[in-house]
């Protein structure tokens, strides 16, 4: 390498003409506005400074590999640091990227991909899920529900992959059984109803395929009495009878993989989590909600319970927590809800007094402590504490 008086630098480089795999050692001269080198055969090659481009993200930081804008094959590798530095200083567009080719084709495929994914997730999968949901035999539905249930419990646990605890205080479960007996859907279900309580503070409940209904501890704490829980239970039973959760679970089975495909392994786990959450807070269609409401209405009336409890409960939670809270968002999609509450209240007005609540006091007290936690809400627990059962619960706390 030498510095000539006329502001030029010279040294050597390796030239690859892109036609043959030979290494051509060439003398390279860097002028302020161009670089010149002379291959063994042929004329000297001149690349203007503004045409010079460098290969990006190269491991070798001392030298530089150059090409001429528009020329995809020929390369000039200059190993010397000083010359590379001079080139970097002289060439104004060294790091400019070649223009993106085939923009139209990329846009076409992108559109095709989006359209096909949208078609599959929003049209084909829901249609198929609708058709298949009613054709699934009871055993299959139960298995599907069990599998989904485990996934949801794991998703709800806080990150540590140990499924969320179910609440199993024996007295509380006995009370729950009494409530279920009152609300027996009978021949509407080909399988027995299986209700469990999850130890989670969310005021929510959801139904799964195969007769599984899940109540959250938060819902029981929020309820002012057993009839409100019974009303929610009846509504969820309505979903089960109408096969809404089966539709949802099948739709989920079709969508999870497709979304995971789009996001790659990068966020696949998160997608599954979000969708599981979606299932819990399932926004069924308005028709499905009305269907479940109607069913609940009939079921509660048959059981001699006030259907209005359903409405008053959601109204109260909505007033307390706003619409964003799981279950209110779930039910607030009913435009006819307010009307229904009023109608139900009017219908009940004369009868409420004669009605036998779905659980008696001690049953309700036991039920509201099914998770072994704090006092249940509602007027009953405020007074009249049976010492024996209090003792029982203290024991439960310690274990």
């Amino acid at each position: 390498m030498s510095t000539a008086p006329d502001n030029t630098l010279s040294g050597f480089g390796d030239y690859f003409d892109g036609a043959r795999a030979r290494v051509q050692r060439v003398a390279v001269t860097v002028f302020p506005d161009k670089v010149m080198f002379e291959p063994a055969e042929g004329k000297p090659v001149i690349w203007r400074a503004d045409e010079l481009r460098a290969l990006p993200d190269q491991a070798d930081r001392t030298g530089i590999v150059l090409y001429r804008a528009g020329d995809k094959l020929a390369r000039l590798a200059v190993p010397d640091e000083t010359i590379a530095g001079a080139l970097r200083a002289n060439a104004p567009q060294l790091t400019r990227r070649p223009p993106v080719e085939n923009k139209g084709r990329i846009a076409g495929w992108a559109l095709g991909a989006v359209a096909s994914v949208a078609l599959i997730i929003f049209v084909l999968v829901p249609i198929m899920a609708n058709q298949l949901a009613t054709r699934l035999p009871p055993d299959g539905e139960k298995a599907l529900g069990d599998a989904t249930y485990e996934q949801i419990r794991t998703a709800l646990s806080e990150g540590d992959f140990v499924p969320l605890e179910t609440c199993e205080a024996p007295d509380g479960l006995a009370a729950l059984d009494a409530m279920i007996a009152r609300l027996d859907p009978g021949d509407d279900l080909p399988y027995p109803l299986e209700v469990s309580v999850l130890d989670h503070p969310m005021a929510n409940a959801f139904a799964l395929p195969g007769g599984r209904v899940v109540l959250f501890r938060g819902l029981i704490e929020e309820a002012s009495g057993p009839d409100e829980v019974a009303a929610v239970l009846a509504h969820e039973i309505g979903h089960v009878v109408n096969r809404d959760p089966t539709r949802d679970a099948l739709r989920l089975a079709g969508s999870v993989g497709v979304l995971g495909l789009l996001f790659g392994d990068f966020a696949g786990g998160t997608v599954v989590l979000v969708l599981a959450n979606q299932l819990i807070n399932a926004k069924y269609s308005q028709a499905a909600e009305s269907g479940a409401d109607e069913y609940a209405h009939a079921l509660l009336t048959d059981a001699g319970l006030p259907p209005s409890a359903l409405g008053t409960f959601f109204e109260r939670i909505r007033a307390e927590h706003g619409d964003a809270e799981g279950i209110t968002a779930h039910f607030s999609s009913h435009p006819q809800m307010t009307a229904r509450i009023e109608a139900a209240l009017a219908a009940d007005a004369g009868r409420t007094a004669e009605m036998v609540p779905s659980l008696n006091r001690s049953q309700w007290r036991a039920f509201s402590r099914v998770c072994g936690g704090a006092e249940g809400s509602g007027e009953d627990s405020a007074h009249e504490k049976a010492p024996a059962s209090a003792q029982h619960w203290q024991d439960g706390d310690e274990s």
């Binding site: 390796d14 690859f16 036609a19 043959r20 795999a21 030979r22 290494v23 290969l55 990006p56 993200d57 190269q58 491991a59 070798d60 930081r61 590999v65 995809k72 094959l73 020929a74 390369r75 590798a77 993106v100 080719e101 085939n102 084709r105 990329i106 495929w109 992108a110 095709g112 991909a113 096909s116 994914v117 599959i120 084909l124 999968v125 198929m128 899920a129 298949l132 054709r135 699934l136 035999p137 055993d139 299959g140 539905e141 139960k142 298995a143 599907l144 599998a147 990150g159 099948l250 089975a253 079709g254 969508s255 993989g257 497709v258 495909l261 789009l262 996001f263 790659g264 990068f266 966020a267």
Partner: protein, 396 residues
């Protein structure tokens, strides 16, 4: 004239790799994975240019937009398979067997040919976008033959409990190598199906020791045989490093192109050292990072509530933080670990391994290479979309 072997230099360095991997990884996280095609392209450019046979760097000429297009192409086909077919499988699985296991099995079996398909097509794309001395590599079309051979060989491997694995590796490698080109020069894979069994000897031996120990433990009910099981397991693990080094050596030394051959001297001990040292470094740095993160949360908490700074930190104070703050800290911590784990793996494992294989490989009798002529561009729309969309591991 004696032609000296062309040694391979390796120009990759830890610090620049760390910066590149961190920057591109961060962008990938921030764009919900969308940047990953750019990340992959840039990382490959770096890895390729680090390998310099005869002092001349390899060049990766693939582009991110090309990979994005390929991915979208694959999505159009795969979304149908994964959405509709899986839903039907799920339905029949629950209808007929009251469980989801059959659906998973059938779904996976259905994907297997697609995985082999994706492997071959990905390699074709990568070779078509790799150059050395300005000349393109290439892999001939031939995916059908590769898929059925892979299915047969993998079935044989599974049926023989892995005994035929080395024969499978050699055979599938021969299929691909014989269809690989450097410019107008065709590669040839020498050797035969028995070539790789020697490289597997320590794995067989370790497995035999562990298996024998397990059998003895079972029948003699003497706990001393647990030692044999442990010894066998360690032997197998070390034997796997021996397999990796010697598989590479044997396969590469039996390849020829344009009259040139290769000489490789990778050392299994070095590979073990890289894995052990790298894992230690990674876990050490991740722990340090978590520690710093914990302190940062503490300081943040102190800023929120000055009383705490005066009273001193207590772990129970954390419970009083607003819930959203805990959530944000959790998400931030998760992605930080996720990100740094990937970055550190490149710096401490992937790159040192690539360096070792590169630096212990040289080209012999390379005088014919200069006469190799350019080959036409393989305009390959689908790129490696299927390999991208299917979980094929991190192989670069």
């Amino acid at each position: 004239m004696i032609f000296h072997p062309l040694k391979t230099d390796y120009a990759g360095r830890g610090a620049p790799m760390f910066r590149l991997a961190l920057k591109t990884g961060l962008l990938t996280v921030l764009t919900l994975g969308f940047y990953r095609f750019w990340m992959k392209t840039r990382m490959r450019r770096y890895y390729w240019s680090a390998i310099r046979p005869g002092g001349q760097p390899l060049e990766f000429t693939g582009t991110a937009t090309e990979m994005l297009t390929g991915f979208l192409t694959a999505v159009v086909f795969l979304a149908f398979y994964i959405g509709i077919v899986n839903l039907l499988l799920m339905f029949f699985s629950f209808s007929l067997f009251a469980g989801q296991a059959p659906a998973y099995v059938v779904s996976f079996v259905g994907l297997v040919p697609l995985i082999f398909f994706a492997q071959y097509r990905a390699r074709r794309y990568i070779f078509a976008r790799t150059r050395w001395r300005g000349i393109r590599f290439g892999l001939e079309p031939g995916v059908k033959g590769f898929v059925w051979r892979s299915i047969l060989w993998w079935s044989a491997t599974v049926l023989t409990a892995g005994l035929l694995f080395p024969a499978q590796v050699w055979s599938l490698e021969k299929y691909r190598t014989d269809r690989t080109w450097y410019g107008d020069a065709q590669f040839a894979q020498g050797g035969d199906w028995k070539s790789l069994f020697g490289a597997m000897k320590h794995v067989y031996l370790g497995a035999a020791i562990a298996g024998g120990g397990a059998a003895a433990e079972y029948f003699l009910e003497d706990e001393i045989w647990l030692v044999a099981i442990a010894m066998g397991a360690v032997w197998t693990a070390l034997g796997w490093a021996y397999w990796k080094a010697h598989r590479f050596k044997r396969l590469t030394e039996q390849k020829t192109v344009a009259g040139a051959g290769f000489r490789c001297t990778p050392r299994p001990g070095k590979l073990v050292g890289i894995y052990l040292g790298g894992s230690l470094a990674i876990s050490g740095i991740l722990f340090a990072l978590l520690f710093v993160f914990g302190i940062a949360v503490g300081v943040l908490f102190g800023v929120v509530d000055e009383d705490v700074l005066e009273a001193g930190m207590d772990i129970t104070d954390l419970a009083q933080l607003p819930a959203w703050m805990g959530l944000v800290a959790g998400i931030f911590g998760y992605f930080t670990v996720f990100l740094f784990w990937g970055v550190l793996k490149e710096v401490f494992i992937t790159m040192p391994i690539a360096r070792h294989f590169a630096e212990t490989t040289e080209i012999v009798n390379g005088e014919g290479l200069s006469a190799v002529r350019q080959r036409d561009r393989d305009d390959f729309v689908e790129a490696e979309g299927f390999a991208d969309a299917l979980p094929l591991g991190d192989g670069i």
